[in-house]
């Protein structure tokens, strides 16, 4: 009996909860760390990037207006779905990073745990970053964190799953929506993650994932007037400068690449959440 021929997956973009090919028809070859052919992956165009921003903007009122409890539940659901596909992700991470099966499994476990960790933050971050302010007068005065809006994220080129989850979760757990540029070299885990997101009760458009050239796509997003913030964690130094300059045009919040290489296994702290939160302070007189 001849060996069965495997059915391969077509890797497409993830925009507004759907999986379109690039409208440009472009694709590029992705290989394993050993150089073996893995897939032809969609190469996102400017139009795709704009469509993704539109989808993220459309999803923002509903997602930011959902209860923190609900957002936490959905992120926890994402962790559940990821856990269920552990073997598939481990294989993709092993291919992409050339790590052994055991290490790859540990990285997937860390990604699942990271999601669970952030899921728990949804209804606690307000208590940590908010404040009741004792103003010198008869006023009630309360500061609360609110999501910034649509965030463009350049995911780290290495750590294709753990790094990706570690930049997406802190952005969306607080109510932002995002457009993520996946690792150009190792995008396959990002699209498999999109399949997880699509089956986790996460509303369409909350996370949009583009594959392709970060050097091409990131400036389009950094210069887009309906994007509120950019996370340049995965941007090369020259690209980060270009994007920060473009971001100045409508005063986007900018998270610069870290000065030192990031250890994705370390405790992330609240910084990534805080970077994409605004503080709103409400005053009201007190009196009879």
């Amino acid at each position: 009996m001849s060996e069965r021929l495997a059915v391969r997956k077509t890797y497409k973009l993830f925009i507004g909860g759907a999986f379109p090919r690039s409208e440009s028809g472009r694709s590029y070859v992705v290989t394993s760390s050993k150089g073996d052919f893995l897939a032809n992956v969609s190469k996102a165009s400017r139009k795709d990037a704009r469509d993704a921003v539109t989808a993220a903007r459309k999803a923002f009122p509903g997602w930011s207006g959902a209860t923190a409890y609900n957002r936490g539940q959905i992120l926890y659901r994402v962790a559940e779905m990821l856990e269920g596909r552990r073997a598939q992700f481990a294989a993709e991470v092993a291919d992409a990073d050339g790590v052994g099966a055991k290490k790859a499994g540990e990285l997937v476990d860390a990604a699942v745990d990271r999601l669970v960790w952030y899921a728990g933050w949804s209804d606690k971050i307000g208590a940590v970053l908010g404040a009741s302010n004792p103003v010198a007068g008869p006023y009630f005065n309360l500061s609360s964190p609110e999501p910034t809006g649509v965030v463009a994220v350049v995911a780290p080129p290495s750590a294709p799953l753990l790094g990706l989850v570690s930049v997406i979760a802190p952005v969306v757990v607080t109510g932002n929506t995002c457009v993520v540029i996946a690792s150009e070299r190792a995008p396959l885990p990002s699209i498999t993650l999109a399949e997880v997101l699509a089956t986790s009760d996460l509303p369409g458009g909350v996370v949009n994932i583009l594959t392709g050239s970060a050097a091409e796509i990131a400036p389009w997003l950094a210069g887009h007037m309906d994007v509120n913030a950019v996370d340049l964690t995965g941007a090369a130094p020259d690209l980060a400068v270009t994007c920060e300059e473009l971001a100045a045009e409508n005063l986007k919040r900018v998270l610069r690449p870290a000065a030192k290489p990031v250890d994705w296994l370390a405790d992330p702290g609240v910084e990534r959440m805080a970077a994409f939160l605004e503080t709103k302070t409400v005053w009201h007189p007190i009196g009879t």
Partner: protein, 475 residues
């Protein structure tokens, strides 16, 4: 309207030198450049003094002094830094009348405001942040948060000394040293503050004041020895600064323009709302980034509200800023007056209806009467652009959803106002307004414990409260 006899505050209390150098390393030094400019009283156009325009080399000297002072200042125990800042707060209280008069002379704002609003808030701000200096490990930024280094700070002319306090107090409390550039039209209280630093025996170089215009500010912002840039001013300049620091490790906070909506729902207490709307746009001649420059009033009460508003505006007194009965002082500069005139003319030519109360205007100085535009469309320039003057644009709405839609229809997001007697409606609206400060049934309230700053193109970072520390810590 009652007749009031003039009640001028005496200006004998201030002692203005004919010219000022730069305050660098605890000393008054002559600028290396030749350029000097006059600073005038905008109410009379009388020359008050001559100030230096610091050159790139002058800025370099100031940054170097701040760098040198940083090592020892940041190494002081927080409790010692706190005591210096407490001293400064006390000296400001002791000299508050003098500083209020000086502020009104140089800026044109009514003495009632500089005396009752600006100066008390300035002292309170230093008191508040003094107390943080030895409590930073409890502020939620880790066990031992470190300062950034040298802060380059550029401030505007609308609240000269208050903006200085907002910048310098948290910077020093966190252990940074500063180089501050006041606005070219209002440098005098910052120069008086330099003297206060000397009276407080603040170590040389911890605070440096360099006067000048845009070029001096640009030299400070791009100086490689600056670790932190803090700017309050126009969105246009904020953009340039954000571009300038791109690619550096400089931390940046920006407090920029606004076009705040004051939303009055039909169940609001009308008289209180009118007072709030008047305070919202005519306080400080409308030279306020968070001014309520758009009145959104529910259609069912628009007529009643406008009648009451016009009645109230007819009682405002415009004139001598040093007169204790003055409500509306002088426009800060000829350039600003030209801008207000240009936008007001655009309002008329685009079809809005212009109204001002009968209001005698002094012969000299820069003045603009309180002005209300009705029939304003969202597309009009006076509904979109920051006027930064005593000009109110009135729009109407029918449903709460429409009010929110219109209020948020601006690239700015600094502040907003909500007037209603219904608590649930207030909280509903406050949650949907994309603005950093929401005043409900009040407006233009400030406090050192309360974070202030904008969403969207109104900038980023917060000043005031625990949140205000983050701008000056390496976190």
């Amino acid at each position: 309207m009652f007749e009031y006899a003039p009640a001028p505050e005496s200006r004998d209390i201030v002692d203005i030198r004919p010219s000022y150098g730069l305050f660098i390393n605890g000393e008054w030094v002559e600028p290396q450049g030749e350029e000097r400019h006059k600073t005038i009283n905008p109410a009379t156009e009388e020359v008050l003094s001559e100030i230096a325009y610091a050159s790139e080399a002058d800025v370099d000297r100031a940054v170097e002094a701040a760098r040198k002072a940083f090592a020892t200042w940041s190494a002081l125990p927080g409790s010692e830094r706190a005591k210096y800042i407490f001293r400064i707060a006390r000296i400001i209280q002791e000299r508050s009348r003098e500083l209020a008069v000086l502020e009104s002379l140089d800026n044109g704002k009514p003495i009632r405001e500089s005396r009752d609003v600006d100066l008390p808030l300035v002292a309170a701000h230093f008191f508040y942040y003094a107390g943080w200096a030895d409590k930073l490990s409890h502020a939620g930024f880790g066990a031992d948060p470190r300062p950034l280094g040298v802060a380059g700070q550029v401030i505007p002319w609308n609240f000269p000394l208050l903006m200085l306090a907002w910048k310098i107090a948290p910077a020093l409390a966190c252990g940074n040293t500063v180089v501050l550039k006041p606005a070219e039209t209002t440098p005098l209280t910052a120069l008086a503050f330099a003297e206060i630093c000397r009276q407080a025996d603040l170590p040389p170089g911890v605070v440096n004041i360099v006067t000048g215009a845009g070029e001096t500010g640009a030299a400070l912002v791009r100086h490689p020895g600056v670790d932190k840039v803090a700017f309050t001013g126009s969105t246009e300049v904020g953009r340039l600064i954000a571009k300038t620091v791109a690619g550096s490790r400089k931390k940046l906070t920006l407090e920029l323009g606004g076009k705040a909506a004051n939303i009055v729902f039909e169940d609001a207490a009308i008289d209180q709302a009118v007072e709030g709307v008047v305070n919202g746009i005519f306080f400080n001649q409308g030279h306020v980034c968070c001014a309520g420059s758009r009145l959104l009033v529910q259609e069912s009460i628009a007529e009643e509200m406008l009648d009451a508003l016009k009645r109230r505006l007819s009682t405002l007194r415009l004139g001598d800023p040093l007169d204790k009965n003055t409500d509306i002082g002088a426009i800060n500069s000829a350039a600003q007056l030209a801008k207000i005139r240009e936008l007001s003319e655009a309002g008329e030519s685009e079809g809005a209806e212009r109204w001002s109360p009968v209001c005698p205007i002094p012969d000299r100085g820069f003045w603009f009467p309180p002005t209300v535009f009705t029939g304003v469309a969202q597309s009009h320039r006076i509904a979109r652009e920051e006027i930064f003057g005593p000009v109110l644009s009135v729009l109407t709405f029918r449903t709460p959803a429409e009010a929110i839609e219109k209020a948020n229809n601006t690239p700015y997001g600094l502040s907003a106002g909500v007037w209603t007697e219904k608590g649930s409606l207030m909280l509903w609206a406050a949650a949907r307004l994309r603005a950093g400060v929401v005043w409900s049934n009040t407006f233009n309230r400030f406090d050192p414990t309360s974070p202030f700053g904008g969403y969207k193109e109104s900038g980023y970072g917060r000043e005031g409260g625990r949140h205000g520390l983050e701008a000056y810590l390496d976190v």
